[in-house]
């Protein structure tokens, strides 16, 4: 049944939307698509080049004696991998195309068989940052629970930019609905209930990095996400 409020809302939405559109966007879209294709070609080329560089010591026998300190970032960590499900949104990104940090995150998540990667990039500086956003590397992924988000979805940010990074539970931004906060260990961890459908879990590292996972409409709990954001092996991929 349609209520008078719904009828009125429909009418008002139409009035609100009734604005002149911009000049034709077709040329800009075509140019943008060409840029994306070129960028993908360059990325693919870089991938091949990177593989060649990494494989060179194996082929030549050199590099085996090179000392890699314990805990140092993996030499391949800086690789910028990107993935999108645009070719087949119903199935998501094929699992063999998941970027490394996504695989590491999913390995720490509660076991489920319906994690479906929608898109991801990282670990690298995003290409389209506005000038007022610091050009810092990030790993970003949208993971659906079920190909059609039957059980919600997660967004993952290895580096979530906050205007004011809290340094203790006492300095959390207000007003927020804090589910829990623990600043007795490193990294400090806190979870926020945004709107009853969305929880965010944040780990704040001593250098100010904030590893952030947002769970929207999912059965995954904030507590289950804590071990993920506290995993320094994942967080240190940014270093």
């Amino acid at each position: 049944m349609t209520t008078p409020v719904e009828v009125e809302l429909r009418r008002r939405l139409r009035e609100l939307a009734n604005q002149p559109g911009p000049a034709s966007l077709a040329d800009q879209a075509l140019a943008g698509a060409k840029r994306v294709r070129r960028w993908r070609t360059v990325l693919a080329g870089c991938g091949v080049l990177l593989l060649a560089v990494l494989a060179l010591p194996l082929v030549t026998g050199a590099g085996y004696s090179r000392y890699i300190p314990f805990g140092a970032p993996d030499p391949g960590a800086a690789a910028c991998e990107s993935a999108t499900d645009e070719s087949d949104p119903a199935k998501g990104v094929p699992s063999d195309g998941y970027p490394r940090f996504v695989r590491m995150v999913l390995a720490k998540m509660p076991p489920r068989d319906d994690y479906t990667l929608q898109s991801a990039y990282g670990v690298c500086v995003p290409a389209d940052l506005p000038p007022d956003i610091p050009a810092l590397p990030n790993g970003y992924a949208v993971v659906n629970l079920g190909p059609n988000r039957e059980h919600g979805h997660l967004t993952i940010n290895l580096r979530y930019l906050m205007e004011a990074v809290p340094t203790s539970c006492a300095t959390l931004p207000t007003p927020v609905d804090v589910l829990f906060c623990d600043d007795s260990a490193v990294p400090m961890v806190f979870a926020v209930d945004r709107d009853k459908y969305t929880v965010t879990v944040n780990a704040v590292y001593p250098d100010g990095r904030t590893f952030y996972i947002e769970a929207i409409d999912t059965p995954v709990t904030a507590t289950q996400l804590v071990p993920v954001v506290k995993d320094t092996a994942i967080a240190d991929l940014l270093l």
């Binding site: 609100l16 009734n18 800009q28 879209a29 994306v36 645009e86 205007e163 409409d217």
Partner: protein, 171 residues
């Protein structure tokens, strides 16, 4: 994309751009953000134009991109920063409820107080007039979620924008 496909793409954009822009306006509430959102969706459409045009699913694809891009928090620069404020946004609901302009501004302000998903549900249900099952399909969630989100959104709109209920009596 060959020149014929490009020509077809331009014709499609010319025919659909106005309608898609209006949806983007309602989703973002900002003209520049709306243009940016639509531009991103059209670039993605252009990347797959040949396949989508031949299957006749271009409309469904671009609309799905529009809604899901907007719901995804990382898309806009506004959502790359967490702005912590001590007080709720300063959006006042004032003026004569019988005045159309006032109500338009009021509704625009109140829409900003909804979550992105709630806003998307409102636009799909009450602007595009889509049934709950189609809304669920576009947003990739269950019909139950759509129903509850629509219910909560309406309740919130009613509470924050009482003019919406009184306008019929006063007009």
């Amino acid at each position: 994309m060959d020149s014929l496909a490009e020509q077809e793409f331009r014709q499609y954009v010319a025919a659909r751009q106005g309608g898609l822009f209006r949806i983007a306006m309602l989703l973002t509430g900002h003209r520049e953000d709306a243009k940016d959102l639509l531009q991103t969706a059209l670039i993605k459409l252009a990347l797959h134009w040949t396949r989508l045009a031949s299957s006749g699913s271009a409309d469904a694809y671009v609309r799905k991109i529009l809604y899901n891009q907007q719901v995804s928090r990382w898309r806009s620069r506004r959502h790359r920063m967490e702005y912590a404020t001590a007080h709720p946004p300063d959006i006042r609901i004032t003026g004569d409820p019988a005045t159309d302009t006032t109500l338009r501004l009021t509704l625009d302000g109140v829409l900003r107080l909804l979550t992105k998903r709630q806003r998307a549900v409102v636009v799909l249900r009450y602007y595009e007039d889509l049934p709950e099952s189609e809304v669920a399909e576009i947003l990739g969630c269950s019909v139950g979620t759509v129903r509850s989100q629509a219910h909560r959104s309406l309740a919130r709109l009613r509470a924050l924008c009482p003019e919406l209920t009184s306008i019929k009596e006063t007009a």
